[in-house]
């Protein structure tokens, strides 16, 4: 069964843009839907209802440097930057007021024994991050023993989550195991402005 078959009638997908691990996308385009598939990964969907602008990120913390309690290790730093990047992009494209932001979070499932409790640590990280920054979670679908597809309309803030079957999970698990082993994808830093 495809995600589209379960979508509510008012959820017009329009143009679908996939948000891959490491991506962060923000838009106010009414004809756009962000889509992502999550196993252990986390996606935050942040919406500014005043400006009708929203965005989605997608990150996976391999926790190479310790647990989520190790808040400033390399892995947690990567997650914090991923969250900050999305928050700042929505603020800059939106009303600029943090109090207007509505935050939904998804993912952190346990889909493979090889990934151990990476999903749970990712869930712990995002909950701790948002609590520390003073943000409430408007809604969430976290944890569990399954992968998810998340669709998010940036102009309305509506999200649709579909739990995937085991055949789809196998592919997601393979990708995530590879990411955990090599570390998260971070786009090369564009350092072409030289000062000194």
């Amino acid at each position: 069964m495809s995600a589209a078959q379960s979508l509510p009638s008012e959820f017009d997908r329009g143009i679908v843009t996939t948000v891959h691990q490491g991506d962060c996308a923000v838009s106010g385009d009414a004809g756009l839907t962000y889509s992502t598939v999550l196993g252990s990964c986390i996606s935050a969907c942040i919406y500014d209802p005043v400006a009708r602008v929203g965005g989605m990120n997608h990150f996976l913390l391999g926790m190479q440097s310790g647990t989520a309690k190790d808040r400033y290790g390399a892995s947690a730093r990567y997650g914090a930057f991923a969250m900050e990047q999305l928050i700042n992009l929505v603020l800059s494209r939106g009303s600029g007021r943090k109090s207007n932001l509505s935050i939904k979070v998804f993912g952190g499932g346990k889909i493979s024994a090889a990934l151990d409790d990476v999903g749970a640590k990712n869930v712990e990280f995002v909950r701790e991050f948002l609590a520390a920054e003073g943000y409430a979670i408007a809604s969430s679908d976290l944890g569990g023993n399954f992968a998810r597809r998340v669709l998010f309309k940036p102009v309305s803030g509506k999200a649709f989550v579909k739990r995937l079957d085991s055949s789809a999970e196998a592919g997601v698990a393979r990708e995530e195991i590879a990411i955990v082993r090599r570390g998260p994808v971070v786009a090369p830093v564009d350092n072409d402005i030289e000062l000194f």
Binding site: Y72, A74, A132, E133, L195
Partner: protein, 129 residues
Amino acid sequence: MPKASALSVMIVDDQQSMRGICKYILTQLGFKDIVEAKSGRDALGKLEKGNVDLIISDWNMDDIDGLTLLKVIRKHPRTQAMPFIMATGRSDKEQVKEAISFGVNNYIIKPFDASTMKKRIEAVIGALT
């Protein structure tokens, strides 16, 4: 050569986690006197009480953003020569150019690690011991 443990650094960021990350890295580099400011306004209030040897400021903040903070610091005779590093996202190239035009000493693109932070600081104040 400046001794990191003898220098005072101010971190300006409205996100607690970012201040924590920055402080963690600066501590790794040997800095001990680290002042945290929760906003541009908080930074200016703390600078009224005394100078610091280096400011590392985020760009995006709710009240006074990093660029406005830089402009105010560069206008005030007591603080105009204060070393200032701007932390910014990788998509903010135009912001970096604007900050350069207003006298930022250097910039650091997030996400950064201790090695990058050290290089940026040393480019501004000299090799650390």
